[in-house]
Structure formats: C-alpha cells, structure tokens
C-alpha cells in the first residue's frame, strides 16, 4: 500500500485505535474530536478542524457516522461537530469514509460534492465484524450461565454471517450446536458443517432442551408460542438489530432471562474492530486506485 494522509474525526475508542494503527503503518494521520477522552490518545489532536482537513486525502468519520443526521457521532468531544461544516471544508479530491451513512447525509454529501463511502456497505467489513460479535456473545453466555458452554445445548437462530461464525466457535468450545434456518440450502450447509439442523417449523420441538439460545434474525422469532416451551433457566441472547427477535415482555413474564446485546465489536474488542476497519479502508483505496 502506498502511504496516504488521513484525518480521523470523532467516533469511539475504535477511531482512536484506528488512527494509531494507520500511523503505525507509516501513514500521515491526524485526529480531531477527542478532547474529552479520559485516556491516552497516543498522538496529538489537531487544534483546528479546518486546518486539519485542508491537508489530508482521506477523512474517516465515526461508525455509526451520526445519531441525529446533523452532527458527527463524537462521544469524546465537548463540542458538536456539524456534518454540514465538515462537508463545506472538503474538496472534490478528498474521500470520506464512515459507517452507516444515512440517505439524508448521503444526499447532503452529493450536494457538497463530497465523495463518500459507507464501510457497512462492504461485504468483507460485515463478515469481519461478525467475528467480535460472535465472540462477544460467547463472553456474555459464559458470564451469565452457571454452566459451561462445553457440553451445553446451544441453539443459533439464523445462519447468516453471525450465525455461521458463532456456530463454528460454539462447536470449537465443545457445545452441542443446533442451528435453525428456513431454506433447504442453509439446512444442507448446517449439516455439512456438522451442526444439528432445525427447520423453522420444528423450533418448538427443540427449544425445550436448550441451555442458551442466540438469535441473529431481525424479526420476532421467539414469540409467545415458542417462548412457552423454553426452559426457565435457559438464557436468550439477542444479537439482532431493532426490533430484535424476541418478545421481550413475554419473556420477562415467563421468567426467562433475555439479553439484547448490540454493537458488540466496539464494546468487547475495539482494537480488533479497528484492525478490521483499517483493512477495509485499505481495500477501498486499493479498489479506487487513488
């Protein structure tokens, strides 16, 4: 990779780790938006945003980019960083890379002639992010359960990215792994990988003997009917984004412990998450040939 200049603006601890990692590779890196971070940044922060932007080829935004479509998601910054302002300062040749760029912001970028790329549109990023997500889910199960995963019955709902990696890790620890899917081809894959396959419509026959259920499907699979058959000491860990896959109220009513675990990569493994972001940024730049 040729060396480049980067400015990392806002974001959580992953952004700080990313900046340091980019620098360790010999790139020219600046950061902005961390004046309130209570920890070592590893490098000096730029004082003026405009000056910092002026000199770089690539601006790296947070992941997710914004929570309000107006300002950068910058939890460690005492002031607001307006997207508007940043876009105004950028020129056509510069590149903006960030995570979950909303349609609204994407439109704004076009208005300002800013070339933006969403990290989460990258398939490899989504795959890699599934690794810390799966490992974080396992950590939660270990912390919450009075039994080992080894020798337990665990059920993974859904065989997408997270489902695939989570099943593999659970088997690797010694769990009896059951995986639910609804497509015949997925069932074939599940068998070929050595897990026990469960068709969606057989779910009720299996949930009763499970010790932990991990959901990765973003709609309510664990409804009243299925919850009724789940053992009271079973733990449900929901990894699906809103609305999640569990009828949480019903689960509570039935006395089944449920944990809705979102955004695990940044929480359980920020350094690994930063490494994967960096690797995806390099892929983007390699493909663009810039």
């Amino acid at each position: 990779m040729d060396k480049r200049s980067y400015l990392v603006v806002g974001g959580d601890i992953r952004s700080v780790k990313l900046a340091n990692s980019l620098m360790a590779d010999g790139n020219d890196v600046k950061i902005y938006g961390f004046n309130n971070a209570g920890f070592e940044l590893g490098m000096k922060e730029s004082k003026k945003l405009e000056d910092a932007i002026d000199k770089v080829e690539t601006v790296i935004g947070p992941l997710p980019f914004s929570n309000d479509n107006e300002t950068f998601n910058a939890p460690f910054c005492s002031e607001k960083i307006y997207i508007n302002d940043v876009f105004k300062m950028m020129n056509k040749k510069q590149l903006l890379i960030a995570g979950r760029i909303s349609e609204k912001i994407s439109h704004l970028a076009q208005v300002y002639n800013v070339y933006s790329i969403d990290l989460l549109d990258r398939e490899e990023m989504a795959v890699l992010n599934a690794i810390p997500t799966a490992e974080g889910a396992i950590q939660i199960a270990m912390e919450e359960m009075p039994i080992t995963l080894h020798g337990s019955n665990t059920l993974v709902l859904g065989f997408g990215r997270i489902g695939k990696i989570l099943s593999k890790m659970l088997l690797g620890i010694g769990s009896n792994v059951f995986v639910e899917a609804r497509k015949y081809a997925d069932i074939a894959w599940i068998k070929s990988y050595g897990y026990q396959s469960v068709y969606l419509n057989e779910l009720k026959d299996y949930v009763g003997k499970m010790d932990v259920i991990f959901n990765t499907i973003p709609h309510v699979v664990l409804d009243t009917q299925v919850l009724r058959d789940i053992a009271k000491d079973c733990l449900i860990i929901d990894l699906a984004s809103k609305p999640g896959g569990v009828d949480f109220d019903k689960a509570k009513e039935f006395g089944i412990k449920t944990m809705w675990a979102l955004s695990l990569p940044g929480k359980v493994a920020p350094v690994t998450a930063a490494k994967y972001i960096k690797s995806t940024i390099y892929n983007i730049i390699e493909e663009l040939g810039v």
Copy 2:
C-alpha cells in the same frame, strides 16, 4: 412425508440405491433400465416401461439425464431408452425429476406437457454433492501422495461450495490449509474460518511450497506462468468441470502430476449420493405440495 409412487428409469448405481432407499421409506417403487447390472438390484425390474409409467406419480431420471439429448443415460440397460418415448407415455399430472436436464430436453418436455425438475438446479443438492466430492478428492490425495495430508501444505483454489467443504475437511485432518479467492469478502470468510488466505494475484508466491493443490475453478488458473513455480513433487487435483483449471499439457511438460477428477460422488460414495438425491426429491415434493 406422505408415501408416493416412483419409477426410477436408468442411471448408474446411485439410481439403484435411490430406488431401494425410497422403498425402505415405505414408498411404492418400480425400476426400469438395469437388465445388464451385474449386481443385486434389491428389487424386481418392471418388464414393460409403458405399464410401469402408467401407474406412478413420479418418474426419476438419471443424473446426468442424457449424454446425447436423445436417450436416457442408462449404462446398465442393454437397449436404448428414448426420451421421446418416455415423454409420450407420461401425463400432465406426473412429475419428472432428473439431473442436468439440457435446454433441448427441457424444451421437448414442454412440447409433451411433461413437468420436469432438474435436481442440479436445487441449491441444497449442489451443497450436499460437495460433501462426497470433497471426500473423494481427499481420498485421491491420500492414495497418490507418499506423505500424510496431516502436516502438509494444501492449497484450495476457489471458495465456492466444494472449496468451503474441502478446506474444512483438510483442516480437520490436520493439514495446513491455504485457500485462494479473488473477492475481499471471500478472503474475510477464509480468515474467519481459520485458513490462510491467498489473493489470486499472490498465487505465484505461495504455490512453490504446496504439497497438494486442489482446483475448483472452471477456467485455467494454473497456467504456464503459475505452473512454473510449482514443485515437481506437488500433486494437482482438478475438480472443475470442463475445461478444468489446469493447462494439462504444460503440467505434463513440467513433470507435475495432475489428476482430473470428475463426477466423484457417484464413484466414491454412491450410497451417500443416493441419500442426498432422495432428500432433495422429498424437498421438491414438499415444496410442490403435491
């Protein structure tokens, strides 16, 4: 599954195993086209094709269906079975299931109002078939090499169905597994599964230290340039359908042993292959709701 009536017409040993397995499940099964099989059929053959067809709901053709677009692929039959004739005898309510139904035959079926379904269009069938293919490839490597796969460097070209299952098995035996792909997302998957990833353009840097190379990509990846760097005692096993992935003439010239292994499921594990065909037939019938 409700019981049904089947007629298995032609095919290799898998068709015989399939017929017996369908019967063991309680279905009503007839067979035709095996008068020259030198082995136990496990059931009586129907004498007249027309009578046999008359009474069944489903006709199961060979896999592949035909080698000449005119007659059934029926290696154990002393006479030719014309597709034309069979289609003429079938009625609208009957179902024809076979493997690799060519466009020409498919057109003919439409003309005769025969409802035909190709097994190889089924994703789950393709996934399941990759299991005996991968295992057959491993058997060949074991037979041909004076070293164990355990501890060897093995390279899998391509990370499709066969590539995925083959890599997993090789790792399971204790091989040092390298997998080549060209998409960043595939590289991410390869890493997540614990194999060493090789970009297509890095191939030349890796092939030199490989003990066995398995190709699954159906175009010439191992060309003169790459072959030049492969060790003389490396074995190449090509699993790709025509034209294959190896410049065979050049490989021979360079003194590199190459094996083009096609149609492995029927050769190395006909009983397992028949089991997967049966399971796919059941899925088809379940989906049709017939």
Copy 3:
C-alpha cells in the same frame, strides 16, 4: 444405578447444586450446613446433624474439605461443623466422600473407623474439572482483552489436563495456539493436535509476539528473564496452584497485567462442576459395588 441415601454437609454453591441433582435422580438426599445461604436451597435443611447422619449411607463433604483441618469448609453455615464430631457420629458402613482430604484428616478418619475417599484422587474428576477451568480462563481473557481471541496469538504453558483442553478450546475459537512443553513426546502430541509447539528453551523466542499467555505449570516459568521479552499489552493468566508460575512482582514492575485465577470451576460454572462431582461419586460407588 441403584438409589442411595446421601447427606451433603457444608461446601459452597456446588454442594447445593449437587444435592439437588442427586435428588433429581431419585436418591434420598439430606443437606446440612447452609442456614446462611442467601439463595433458594431447593430442599429443606436437616435440623439436627446427628439425626441426619444417622439415616444415610453416604456423607458428602465439601470440596475442599477443610481449610483448618478442624472444621468443615462451610461458608454458608453460621456455626462451625467439627470434623471430629461428624466422624464420631458415623459408623463403619457409611462412606465419606469429599475433596482434598488432608493427611491429618485422613489419619483422623482411620482413628474413627470412617471410610473416606478423596474426589481429587480420582483421575476422571481431575480431567472433568479441567473443562470449567479452561472455559473460565477463556472468559477472563475475553473480559480483559480489547482484542478477540480469534486471530490472536495465545500461548499455553504446559500440556497436562488443563493445557490440553484449553488449547483445544482456543483453537476452536480461532486463536493461533502455541503450546509449550519440555518432553519430546508432548511436543509430538502438540504437533499432532495442530498447535504450534514451543520447547521450554525456545520460550524467549516466542513470548514477544503473544497476546495472551496461560500458565498451567506450578513453578515459576515466567521469571525475570522471560518476562523481559513479553509485550507490555500481553495478558498473563496464571492457572497454576501455589506458588503459581509467574514472578508477580517482576511482572508488575514491568507493567505486564497478570491475573492469578484459582478455583475456577466453582466460580464460573458451579452447576457443571456439581454435575461432574456427581458423576464421579457414582463411579466411586459403582466401583465399590456397595
């Protein structure tokens, strides 16, 4: 297994789980020594120890049996339970099973004609205990590290029971596993299982690139000389009983984070630990033929 009568006296939460599990199998079970437990016992406690002992075939003591060689290890009991007293109440036909019975107590048992068996003398118990120990060590590593174990370099010192199971689980999660041993035969085993082997005298060459080091050897392997080469952000988890395998003072001086994790089964997976104790008790009784 024939049903028997048991009295569980003292111990931590594992003893309570054990009592319930023995009862669920249809045995006649009493408990004593839990009047201060702040949680549901699942069964009534016997009021008088003497009456309780009077009617049972087997007395199950804590694990470890005693911390002072005088009283039962009974953290949930408001009064002291004297070993002396219990031995006095027991008769020749009764069996005492407990964990880590010291030589002094063992001698006392002989004096009182009590037939005692130490759970920790049972090889299967030691093997099974290694499972929650290994899983607990993994949980700690996940909690403490800002990186995933997947893709990390992890080193296991020692290839005994815990070393074997821990290495397998780490590989199963996707870690790059290195295992240190000093015997050629162990090195052969390590290679055969697919880990990277490290001879004791090569340790200094490897520790520098490790992310987590797990020690299972009960004497100081990680001394000043080795610690000097360990990265500052490496985590050391010491699983060895006293004196442990790390020069803790030096590690602190060098700024290397070290955790001494003992008695993990009871802490991270009391229910699984109780299951293994029960299974070992059954083996003992089966062997005795009582």
Copy 4:
C-alpha cells in the same frame, strides 16, 4: 544440530527417504543394502559395507530391524546382511539406531560392545507414527465404503495413541465419532474432546448402528457375541498388532468385511514416516549430547 556422519543399512523405502533427508540437512550420509531397489536412490550406494561403517558415527538399521534375529531386514538387497558381521565391524564410539530391536539382538549388541537404541522405545516416535497410521486407516475406509465418512457413524475401539489421533481426524472430516474405553478417566477425556463415549460393557448396544469400526486394542474385543450385533454392511478395520482385536473367522462366517491393516506408515506415507524417524534420531542424539 551439529552435522554428523550416518550409514543407513537396509530397510524399506523409508530408509532411502531418511538417508536423503539426512543428507539434505547437511549431514554426511552413506547407504548400503539397496542394490535391488527398482527406483532412484538419490545417492550412490557404498560398495563395501566394512569401509562404509569404518567412517561413520551412526549406523541406522531398518524398522523393524530383523525378521529372523540373524540378518538385517533388507528387502532391496540381493545378499544377506548378517547382524553378527555388522556388530563385529562397529566400535564402541559408534551408535546403532534401529526399530524393534529384539531382546536377542540387544543381547548380541552387548556382547559386541555396540551401543544400540530402539526407535520404538521412544514415546515421541510412537506418537508420531500414529499420525500416518490413522490417516492410512481413513484412506482404507474411504476406499472400501460406498458412503462418505462425513455423516457416518464410526466407532474407535481404544483411546491410546492411535485412538486419540484417529478420533480427531474422523471428527474433522465430519463423522459421528464414538470411542470405546474401559477406564473412567478415558471416558472423561473422550467426552472432553467431543466424542460420544462408549463403555466397554455398553459395546453391544452401540455396534449395531455403526458404519465403520476401527480397532486399536491388541486382544479380541470383537468376539462372537459382539460380532453378532454388527450390521452386515459395516466395515471393520483392525489396526492392532497380533493377535488383532477381531475373531476373523467368525466375522467371515457372519459376512462382515474385515481388514487387518498393519504397518501402515511405511505403506501409505513413507516420506512422512522417514521425516518422523529423522526427527526422533535427532532427539536421541541431542539427548545423548554426543
């Protein structure tokens, strides 16, 4: 390792591969006893045995050393090589390393003041040899069975060296692995590794559903009583040295296919076997400090 001088006398193809591999490491290597080998030796053979012995530090004998206690096991040599003669030519400072040195030969060595070491007394050699043995057994199963090992029920009798490595490989290919043992501790290990454990006395309950049975126990476990319950299409592969673990006559009578597969390393993977012999020779020399 310091370079040394070796003379390889007699043996099968492994001895030739060993000689070449020792030479490739920079050692000074001679060979004798291969004048009838129909293949490339890779180096010149010494003409006179006495001259060859005269100049070397180490003499490497065959594996096994002798079949008659009188002559070297030298299948590629047109003349007999008498052990007596060789011992006479050797001096006190020279080292003889060979495999399976009988008590009689060992005694003879003492008489002639020859310092001899048996490779098979080395634990690491026995462990490493289990790798090609297990892989060879898998190759045979693949060749003989019309089903894939993936998805099959396989039973391994005995959990010693071969049992451990074979179980691991079978699981790695995707087999449902059952392992029989008679010690509680072994059963604990079997469970901890994720196999299904079978007590010796439960054998009859399990054998009926097995597709392949691998025996590693050197006494008749599969007797009339057990054979009676084995399915007719089950394959038995016996890996145990004489007398083997199967009542072969009874098995034949019952129509069960049985294969007695001995000395697999030299047959299926001579190059790997030679590599392991070399590594063990180096360990021996390192330990002796010569």
